[in-house]
Amino acid sequence: MLLMSRLASLESRRGWQVFLILLVLTIVLVPVLNLTLPPESPFHVPTYMLSLLGKYLCFALLALSLDLIWGYAGALSLGHGAFFALGGYCMGMYLMRQIGTRGVYGNPDLPDFMVFLNWTELPWYWWGFDQFWFAALMVMAVPALLAYVLGWLAFRSRITGVYFSIITQAMVFALMLAFFRNEMGFGGNNGLTDFKEILGFNIQAQGTRIGLYVASAVVLALGYLISRFIVTSKLGRVLMAIRDAESRVRFLGYSVTNAKLFVFTVSAILAGIAGALYVPQVGIINPSEMSPGNSIEIAVWVAVGGRGTLFGAIIGAFTVNGAKSFFTGAAPEFWLFFLGALFIVCTLFLPQGIVGFAAQMRARIARKATPAPEEVGNAASKHRA
């Protein structure tokens, strides 16, 4: 009963309505439009579009996870690509083991690239990845462990602001270099690919694709609710206080280190899950996912949507990636110009992103007569992030 009322309090009445409508639209309507309508119908959703949307859902979860640590705890991690990719690699390892004897070399235990490297037995860190439950556990445990260790090192010595960003960037860069090495046993340059099936379903089949898409949507919804739960709790208040005045919170007797460490770890777990859902949908994971540029791009998704508002991160991920898909198809040479301009415009003119801009517009319309006083959101953005 208590839990129910706590759940209900996550969103306003209107918020719950919008949430449920959107959930039903993504989970039910899109697959139905894909399955039932003939391809020539204007409302038909082609399977590639469905996969694309599934990819966006994973990106949205990733953006959500970054928003949790950046938007609420004020620590901009430029290494979230690492957690995403580690989750993806854990899933990829499971999928590699599922190939079995269908690989080019037909080795029942070793993935093709290991046979190619003349390895004779599976390295210890690949043990257990033939079991889905183990892989699923690792998808969360590996990023969580990395985030915990890195966060503990960073937050304990009060590394904040830009220094934290640079350290996380160095971390993702180092990991990328490490994964590029063939000796690491993760397929080196080429990464893991050529997956055949997941939980016994053919990974190329339309049904599996719809299943993965629905799973991504459900997980995103759950991730949203969990994040909502955290930020509306007392811990969430402490986090926001840390974001706005870290030293003061520390002097008031709260453990800033523990609060940040907790939310950083949760954030890494969400990013790992996003990666795990992403890999079967795109069919490949390689070290370039960990390039520092990719991780910074996540920050722009959040910034465009509006940081510090969880659904803003989701909106941002969809908007920017939608634009990316459009540009890479229509005018690939302009995409980087657009993305670069987006970075600049967002920081200069839209410090609260699309969501903040919409709120501002609404407020302006509401009090047309009097000049709008400083918005609360604006004041927060003025503070050093």
Binding site: W70, L76, L150, L153, R156, S157, R158, I159, G161, V162, Y163, S165, I166, I167, Q169, A170, M171, F173, A174, L177, A178, F180, R181, P292, G293, I296, A299, V300, A303, E333, L336, F337, L339, G340, A341, L342, F343, I344, C346, T347, L348, P351, R384, A385
Partner: protein, 550 residues
């Protein structure tokens, strides 16, 4: 009287005899030479080889062109009179008499019979020419001779080499002679000679000597030592030990040099960042692109020199590139600061994202103008080449130039900050902005100029980096993480910190590389820095001021 006459006659006879004898000896020598030359035309290979060896022993340098012609299949007998001739040229052969060197005019291959040579003959020719050339006035020829004589099998080669060594002045030739001598003596059956050979080698601690001596200390498959004499074995082992020490020291010195070289590249890349990030506290993610712009300016200046300036001045293009790159990158930097960054002071994370956006756009812009593939930048003549500082330690001029240049840039910047009014204003604004403003310093202008200075120095770094790496639109990306590491490690805002940070990381990297591989070395360094920041969150040389509070 008669006795007197008799005595006179005897004396005359004796004198006559001596003169005659001398004459006879000289003809005999001339004959020996002509005979040996004639022997080259013998039908059997063994006889030819004997003739070649005889020529080598005679020590007459006239034989060298004849022997070389023989090795090149250009020794013939003329069909008309059976004379032995050397010829040069392909179809119309110009003939020279082999024995006398007299020019005999042209002929065609139909008039001649070729004297065949096989590889054994060529080896013998090499050895004989070596013997003949060991006394040549040209050191390069003596060097070649010393090396070819290893193959000589005649027993008097060793004394000949000793003799040559005693007379030799040029160090390189001495080294080659010693080595050849040792090679020959080491295979001698006389233990005393082998021991002398090792003693002779004791001052030459090179890898070649190591390869030469190592077999002496090994065991044969049947368990016995390859070298029966224990004294020689001990001497060889001792020599090997000294060689290994020397080689290790050389490697150490080489690693150190490469480390300093990498460190100076890092230093160049990071100095500009020490200004923009260190002094101003601006996280400039487009810093790498300023380096890239500098490198592309070099490409453009080089192209302009190729097209409009006479070729003999081409080497100067690099000198012109330095101010050009400074101006281009500096101007872009000032534009960035005035247009975007100044609105974001006090919001470092937004600055980070905005400058990242700028970096993406600059990269794409350069890609649109110059194309994605690498641009080629050629080193000017005075930068190509190398100097051998120690045996086995070759230092290329472009690496040395970059080290010197990096130090010069650092020193110039330090002087600018320390001794100019602008430097004073810059330090004032850094330490206390509002007070500086109250004192009448135009803080906005100082900000713009400081940012321009940092960017301009990054552009200058690009000129230097274009000399050691590829110039591509992604050039800057490779340096951005490293530069930040250097600045964070060295201590934000301290030029000496940047120097210390860059050199430490460069040397550390090069020493790790052989053990851990290039990538793992880099990873270890990143991990090391993350741990280091635990202990010294503000870097090696911490600075107080605006940057320290950020």
């Amino acid at each position: 009287m008669a006795t007197f006459m008799a005595a006179f006659m005897i004396a005359g006879l004796v004198v006559c005899g001596i003169t005659l004898g001398a004459f006879a000896a000289s003809t005999a020598r001339a004959d020996a030479y002509t005979d040996a030359i004639a022997g080259l035309a013998s039908p059997g290979f063994a006889e030819k080889a004997a003739a070649i060896e005889a020529l080598g022993r005679l020590g007459d340098s006239r034989a060298i062109p004849v022997l070389e012609a023989m090795a090149d299949n250009q020794l013939y007998t003329r069909k008309a009179d059976g004379r032995l001739v050397t010829g040069s040229g392909g179809r119309d052969i110009t003939l020279t008499d082999a024995a006398t060197g007299e020019a005999l005019g042209p002929a065609t291959s139909r008039d001649l019979t070729r004297i065949n040579a096989n590889n054994a003959i060529r080896t013998a020719v090499g050895a004989a020419v070596g013997r003949l050339q060991i006394g040549d006035p040209d050191p390069a020829k003596r060097l070649a001779a010393a090396e070819t004589m290893v193959r000589s099998e005649s027993p008097d080669t060793v004394p000949l080499l000793r003799d040559a060594l005693a007379r030799e002045q040029v160090e390189d030739v001495r080294a080659a002679l010693t080595l050849t001598l040792a090679k020959l003596s080491l295979s001698s059956a006389d233990p005393g000679e082998r021991l002398t050979a090792i003693k002779d080698l004791s001052s030459r601690l090179t890898p070649e000597v190591r390869a030469l001596v190592t077999p002496l200390t090994l065991t044969k498959p049947d368990g016995t030592f390859a070298e029966p004499d224990p004294q020689i074995r001990a001497a060889a082992t001792e020599l090997l030990g000294r060689i290994d020490t020397r080689l290790m020291l050389t490697e150490l010195a080489l690693n150190l040099f490469q480390g300093i070289s990498l460190g100076s590249v890092l230093l160049l890349a990071a100095i500009g960042l020490a200004i923009t990030f260190g002094v101003m506290g601006v996280i400039n993610m487009a810093h790498g692109e300023m380096i890239m712009l500098g490198a592309y300016t070099t490409v453009v200046v080089q192209q302009a020199f190729r097209e409009y300036i006479p070729a003999e001045f081409f080497g100067l293009y690099l000198i012109i590139s330095i101010p050009a790159a400074f101006l281009v990158a500096g101007a872009v930097g000032v534009a960035m600061e005035r247009g975007i960054i100044r609105f974001l002071y006090g919001r470092p994370l937004e600055t980070l994202l905005a400058t990242w956006g700028i970096s993406l756009m600059l990269q794409q812009l350069v890609r649109a103008i110059f194309g994605a593939p690498n641009k080629e930048v050629s080193n000017p003549g005075w930068m190509t080449g190398a100097v051998e500082a120690m045996p086995g330690m070759v230092l290329t001029y472009n690496r040395i130039a970059i080290i010197v240049f990096a130090i010069m840039v650092l020193a110039g910047l330090a002087a600018l900050l320390r001794y100019t009014p602008f430097g004073l204003q810059m330090r004032a604004v850094t330490q206390n902005r509002s007070m500086a403003s109250a004192m009448g310093i135009r803080t906005g202008w100082v900000d713009a100029m400081t940012f321009g200075l940092g960017s301009g120095i990054a552009g200058v770094a690009g000129v230097a980096l274009s000399q050691v790496g590829n110039v591509s639109p992604n050039l800057g990306q490779g340096y951005i993480v490293d530069s930040f590491m250097v600045v964070v490690f060295g201590g934000v805002g301290s030029l000496w910190g940047v120097l210390a940070g860059a050199m430490t990381l460069g040397i550390f990297n090069k020493f790790l590389e052989p053990y851990a591989g290039a990538m793992l070395g880099k990873i270890l360094i990143l991990v090391f820095i993350i741990l280091f920041i635990q202990k010294r969150p503000r870097g090696l040389f911490a600075l107080k001021g605006r940057a320290a509070e950020a």
